[in-house]
């Protein structure tokens, strides 16, 4: 594809500097996005998906901080902008974001229109009748009636509110829209129709989109490229066609298998045992190795590099050409995973003290 590059992220690291230690929420993320393309970002909760999205807007909440790497948004170095510049130059104009739980985002005391015109007012100085016309045009674009402009948020259903938010995100004609779990709280029928609208809008307006979700089945329908994230790493990146057909990384493999198929009878669902690691102190070597069904001895010590496997970038030792690594023995675990270890990890977060049980409160 030789269309214009909209976004280029290179070795981006965003960490949260908490009093307990540095949370490595996003490490070494690199990808490119062309005009009109869409990327789906998937992974379990706590894998750094939302941190990535906030970094792209230079809106990471403290104690979070972009540590290194660059974000090139249509020629603008986003990571170098100050808060004021970011607000003026990129947010809404270049990138806009539809947040998770967007339905609670609207203030109940103002009408939909009052809230919608704000970006127009502050960025372009458009007000009054003219602003109203623009808003109504965008409301119609997302299949809503223009009269919604005068209604209050509580008068709308969840799906309608979500549409209003999407329309607002499009108002200033950004190049890129980031949608963080856009349909999680909605019913399937409404979800399918909003997804349809998004597909159509992307084509009509020629904008790029980044979808963030933990549900891979939705991404298959809307994303050209797919980034699978685990514990702050992008473990697999490639065209979604390739990845769905033949997932390369063991994590992706398991994640795909966990989607229940509605057409066939199955006895058991696949799942990934255990919980994602604590990112203050992630496992050495590959961060996925304690939960991996294909883990080798080398995975415990050496961080895997990113390999190109038929156009798909995979961060896994399985695809290494180094003979020593390729011949590493399969790791031996007594059990692939146990809750105890996970429990310990959680305890670690709480300062490790063993809590003494006070003499029973329930004992009467």
């Amino acid at each position: 594809m030789d269309s214009k590059m909209v976004l280029e992220v290179d070795e981006l690291c965003t960490h949260y500097l908490t009093t307990d230690g540095e949370v490595m929420a996003l490490d070494d993320a690199s990808f490119k996005l062309h005009r009109g393309e869409s990327i789906g970002i998937a992974g379990e909760s706590g894998c750094g998906k939302s941190t990535l999205a906030f970094s792209l807007l230079n809106q990471v909440q403290p104690p979070g901080q972009i540590m290194s790497g660059s974000i090139d948004l249509d020629g603008i170095q986003v990571a170098d902008l100050t808060e004021k510049e970011a607000r003026k130059k990129i947010r809404w104009k270049k990138v806009s974001m539809v947040f998770q739980g967007a339905m609670e985002i609207m203030t109940p005391v103002y009408t939909v229109g009052h809230q919608m015109v704000e970006p127009l007012k502050y960025h372009k100085g458009i007000e009054g009748k003219k602003a109203r016309d623009i808003c109504e045009r965008y409301l119609e674009l997302v299949n809503l009636d223009g009269s919604i402009f005068d209604r209050y948020p509580h008068e709308l259903s969840g799906g309608q509110k979500q549409r209003v938010i999407i329309a607002t995100a499009l108002l200033l004609e950004p190049d890129l829209v980031i949608l963080d779990e856009p349909t999680t709280a909605l019913d399937v029928v409404v979800e399918a129709r909003i997804m349809n609208d998004l597909k159509r809008l992307r084509r009509e307006l020629d904008i790029s989109m980044i979808f963030i979700t933990h549900d891979l089945s939705i991404l298959a329908e809307v994303s050209d490229n797919l980034a699978i994230m685990y514990a702050g790493w992008i473990v697999e990146f490639g065209s979604s066609k390739d990845i769905y057909k033949d997932p390369k990384h063991p994590y992706t493999e398991k994640l795909m298998a966990a989607i229940p198929d509605i057409r066939t009878d199955i006895e058991r669902l696949e799942y990934i045992p255990g919980v994602p690691p604590n990112l203050i102190n992630p496992p050495a070597g590959c961060r996925f190795h304690p939960r991996c069904h294909k883990a080798m001895e080398v995975c415990k010590e050496l961080e895997p590099e990113t390999y190109d496997v038929g156009g798909v970038r995979v961060k896994c030792h399985l695809y290494s050409e180094d003979e020593e690594i390729a011949e590493s023995e399969e790791a031996q675990y007594e059990t692939a995973y146990d809750d105890e270890a996970a429990a310990e990890a959680y305890e670690g977060e709480l300062g490790k003290e063993e809590i003494e049980e006070p003499d029973e409160i329930m004992e009467e």
């Binding site: 399937v188 029928v189 298959a220 229940p260 669902l269 045992p273």
Partner: protein, 342 residues
């Protein structure tokens, strides 16, 4: 067929909307929300039954009625032949609830954050006077934690809920329900708050417990894609009524009610080749309010196949297969086809 474990006949729950003083003065008609509007279903021993539908269709109300957390407006429920809708005395109700337990949607708020796991699990035992000594109860708690694969149990007893992951929390809720050895569990969206990968783990566990603990689930969900794996029978609910029910394979493979068909079209396809284009979701609009249920067939204003008769006459249950019925005038005549416009 054996006698069902649980039977509901014409189960109905109407909520009265409270009127303000002025509304009463003006003689405004009392509004009633018909949340559950005469549903019938049978649940057989160790054959899970799932109810699917959009939010606001009344599926949670059915679950609450079954637990007798709400009193039905009309109709009857029978558990092992005994009419439980008629129970009015506290003692009997307590005995019934020992056999029937509930799991809630949000494990993050279903567990008291100020109690340790031990206290949380001991509470049902105290309420039902089970176990003579603290040691005996501790053994039972251990056993319950082992059942839900939280091992070793000693590790978990002293933890607080916030020290567990979402999946572990939901397993504690499951242990709390299981500790009384119930026959029947009402699971209200037990996995919808969990990540896809953890969801599968919890559902697998719940399924294993059917045989291990002789338990039957009533599974309430809006996620139709998990029903095929988890349950044997399914009921599709729309605006307070079950519009189609039957064996889960039959209903999902040959959906006969236009609403079921629409739900199935809307399920996202985990396959980029098949799901790419814009799907033709046959229904528009959103579920109407329960105060104002349309005349005739309650689905007709949104139905793509609606004819004149649908506006006037409420459809009867039509048999479209063995143990498979649909409440539609044209059941069995409407063909199911997922159309995708490129």
């Amino acid at each position: 067929m054996a006698e069902p474990l649980f039977k509901a006949r014409n189960l109905t729950k109407h909520f009265q909307i409270t009127q303000s003083f002025f509304q009463k003065l003006r003689g405004k008609e009392k509004q009633v929300v018909r949340a559950v509007d005469g549903v019938d279903f049978d649940i057989y021993w160790k054959k899970n039954f799932s109810v699917v539908g959009e939010s606001g269709c009344g599926k949670t109300t059915v679950g609450k009625l079954m637990m007798r957390l709400l009193d039905p407006t009309a109709g009857h429920m029978y558990m092992k032949g005994e009419d439980i809708s008629a129970i009015s005395n506290r003692q009997q109700l307590k005995a019934y609830r020992r056999q029937t337990q509930m799991i809630y949607q949000d494990p993050f708020s279903a567990l008291d954050p100020r109690h340790r796991i031990r206290t949380i699990l001991e509470e049902p035992l105290m309420i039902h006077d089970i176990g003579d000594s603290r040691e005996e109860r501790t053994d039972m708690i251990h056993e319950a934690l082992e059942e839900v694969r939280l091992t070793p149990p000693e590790k978990f007893l002293r933890r607080y809920p916030h020290m567990l992951s979402g999946g572990q929390k939901q397993r504690v809720s499951l242990a709390r329900a299981m500790i009384l050895n119930p026959d029947f569990i009402v699971a209200d969206e037990p996995v919808s708050m969990l990540d896809v990968s953890v969801r599968a783990e919890v559902l697998n566990l719940m399924k294993d417990l059917i045989d291990e603990e002789d338990v039957t689930y009533f599974y309430i969900t809006h996620d139709i894609s998990t029903t095929r794996f988890f349950t044997d029978y399914i009921g599709v609910m729309y605006l307070g009524d079950i519009v189609e029910k039957g064996r889960v394979g039959d209903v999902l493979d040959t959906p006969s009610h236009p609403y079921t068909q629409a739900l199935l079209v809307a399920v996202p396809e985990p396959d980029p080749e098949r799901g790419r284009g814009v799907k033709k979701v046959p229904i528009t609009g959103e579920i109407p309010s329960g105060t104002n249920i349309p005349s005739g067939c309650r689905f007709h204003p949104r139905c793509p196949h609606a004819k004149e008769i649908c506006e006037k006459k409420d459809p009867e249950e039509i048999k479209v297969g063995k143990e498979h019925t649909a409440k539609c005038h044209f059941a069995g005549e409407i063909e199911f086809d997922i159309e995708v416009a490129k």
